[in-house]
């Protein structure tokens, strides 16, 4: 049995930043549990640049961004268990983990930070008909094979989904000599960054078809081709629009799912929209002393935002451990209304000492151009924010003055149609 102040599950960008901040805040014994052979998480396979513009003020590749955090771990005394899988999390903050080097381990923590990240949706999750030949990969799996393991998944590629990983892989496969024949996106817009459409697809003359999806995968042993069809407003394929595209590989970039098996095991209250835990402004979950941050909480578009969120959770976890008394929470729900898809935090805890301002993060449902956001407290508008544009692909942040909401029973965020 092992006893620590703070156990962090996951050694990716969220876990790393949370650990360092917890240390800085004064936590004594901190443990990071990581299932991979090394720290850094998904950043290690994201070899493209564009990370760190906000956090470090310069443009880094994923591995470099991870390296800057991993370097800081030296001499902090933060313990790291790699090749170790957390198998069970209990509400009393005990963790059962199994490690390649350490075997079975029971860990007792005063506070736990959930930083498990997310995983990719697979073919099974989107039900594409056809046989089950080799050559169907998630984009992230292909990314790891090409960038870290040294294997090419195929030569003639169709990519379904225009999320950022799909776009990045379209360029990567092209640069490694493959032919990317099409990126097919079922929605009438891309969930990827405009920058990636310009620099990954346009630069390499890769066609992108909106409102198109793969309706069948052909081939028995190996993918021989896919059928692509246009979809209607309800996303159903339109008969007669089918087109056969010969290829040996289909990459799927069709969304990410926060990896919350441990979270639900601990009986933590979830947000069905984010598929992550419901948290307060300190990223504390419904179970006292368990915090969550990064992609396990909600899928982020920028790692810089993950680091920022992890700092909040790391700081709060250290404070939680330091304080012997915890005042009873006074939770006020943040309700996403008209046009706002979700907010993080999902509720504010207005008990105890509060900062002057609180940061609220949210995503909108559709593209609004221009966009007007209203924040209401008990139905009364306390803040109006105007922006030239808000899109579902970019997380938004807004500040509220604590004084404006301190007495409120319900707070709502909504988009006002122009």
């Amino acid at each position: 049995m092992k006893q620590v102040d703070i156990a962090i599950i996951g050694g990716g960008p969220a876990g790393l930043a949370a650990a360092l901040e917890a240390k800085k805040t004064g936590a004594q014994s901190i443990l990071i549990i990581e299932r991979d052979r090394e720290l850094g998480g998904i950043l290690q396979q994201c070899i493209h640049n564009g990370f760190g513009l906000q956090w470090f003020g310069e443009e880094l590749s994923g591995p470099e961004y991870a390296h800057r955090f991993i370097e800081q771990l030296a001499d902090t005394g933060i313990e790291v268990m790699t090749d170790t899988m957390a198998l069970q999390l209990n509400p009393d903050k005990t963790i059962i983990a199994a490690g390649y080097h350490t075997g079975w381990e029971e860990i007792h923590a005063k506070a736990v930070i959930l930083a498990m990240g997310c995983r990719e949706r697979t073919r099974g999750a989107i039900n594409i008909p056809g046989a089950r030949p080799a050559g169907v990969y998630t984009a992230g799996c292909a990314q790891r094979l090409v960038n870290m393991e040294g294997y090419m998944p195929g030569r003639e590629i169709v990519i379904l989904g225009s999320g950022d990983i799909g776009l990045i892989m379209a360029r990567r496969m092209t640069w490694e000599g493959a032919k990317v024949k099409l990126v097919s996106e079922i929605m009438p817009y891309s969930s990827g960054l405009a920058r990636n459409i310009a620099q990954c697809l346009d630069d390499n003359d890769i066609p992108l078809k909106f409102s198109h999806t793969v309706t069948q995968i052909h081939g028995r042993e190996r993918v021989e081709g896919v059928t692509v069809a246009e979809v209607d407003a309800k996303l159903n394929p339109i008969p007669g629009t089918e087109e056969y595209i010969p290829c040996d590989t289909l990459l799927l970039s069709v969304g990410l799912i926060p990896e919350n098996e441990l979270t639900t095991m601990a009986g933590i209250q979830m947000d069905p929209v984010t598929s992550g835990a419901a948290v307060d402004q300190n990223r504390q979950t419904s179970v006292e002393g368990i915090f969550a941050c990064g992609n396990v909480l909600h899928v982020h578009d920028l790692v810089d935002n993950v680091s920022a969120e992890a700092v909040i959770a790391g700081h709060a976890a250290a404070e939680y451990v330091r304080k012997t008394e915890h005042p009873a929470p006074r939770k006020v729900a943040l309700k996403p209304e008209n046009g706002v898809r979700y907010t993080v935090p999902q509720a504010l805890n207005l008990a105890g000492e509060l900062p002057e301002e609180l940061d609220l993060y949210f995503r909108v449902r559709n593209a609004y151009k221009p966009a007007v956001l209203e924040i209401t407290a008990d139905g009364k508008v306390i803040r109006t924010v105007k922006k030239p544009i808000m899109t579902p692909g970019e997380m938004e942040k807004v500040k509220v003055k604590t004084a404006d909401i301190a007495q409120a029973g319900e707070i709502a965020l909504r988009i006002v149609e122009a």
């Binding site: 290690q44 070899i47 493209h48 640049n49 443009e59 880094l60 590749s61 994923g62 591995p63 470099e64 390296h67 090409v146 960038n147 870290m148 393991e149 040294g150 640069w175 490694e176 960054l193 405009a194 920058r195 459409i197 310009a198 620099q199 630069d203 030239p388 544009i389 899109t391 692909g393 970019e394």
Partner: protein, 120 residues
């Protein structure tokens, strides 16, 4: 006279830019700020990109090290840099920032390692 439409990627607004080059004169329209104009002129005269890739490492604890150009290079030079990288095989250990290919394809820009590879 050459004309081109492009979407500005400097910020999320995504202005649709129309660029006209008449002799030495480049005119940008559709932008809503100065940064958009700078982006369009750059894209039209000499677009710059960072090239990232992975190269095989001799005797490393993992088969590949990720690499990138230290600075941006001309977009037109990307294929030459990728070709030159095919024969690059650094020997472990590799440290972040190690130059694995100096003056890549005559661009004057080095290709550096972006991750650490230990000896096997």
């Amino acid at each position: 006279m050459i004309e081109k439409d492009m979407v500005c990627i400097v910020c999320p607004v995504g202005c649709r830019l129309h660029v006209v080059k008449d002799g030495e004169q480049i005119t940008v329209s559709g932008n809503t700020c100065k940064r958009g104009e700078r982006y369009a002129v750059g894209e039209f005269t000499d677009p710059q990109r960072t090239v990232t890739s992975s190269v095989y490492v001799e005797g490393g604890h993992m088969p590949l090290a990720s690499v990138r150009t230290e600075k941006t290079i001309s977009k037109a030079k990307i294929p030459a840099v990728l070709e030159a990288l095919k024969t690059v095989r650094p020997v472990a250990p590799v440290k972040v920032g190690d130059v694995v290919l100096p003056n890549a394809a005559g661009t004057g820009v080095n290709v550096i390692a972006t991750r650490e590879i230990r000896r096997k």
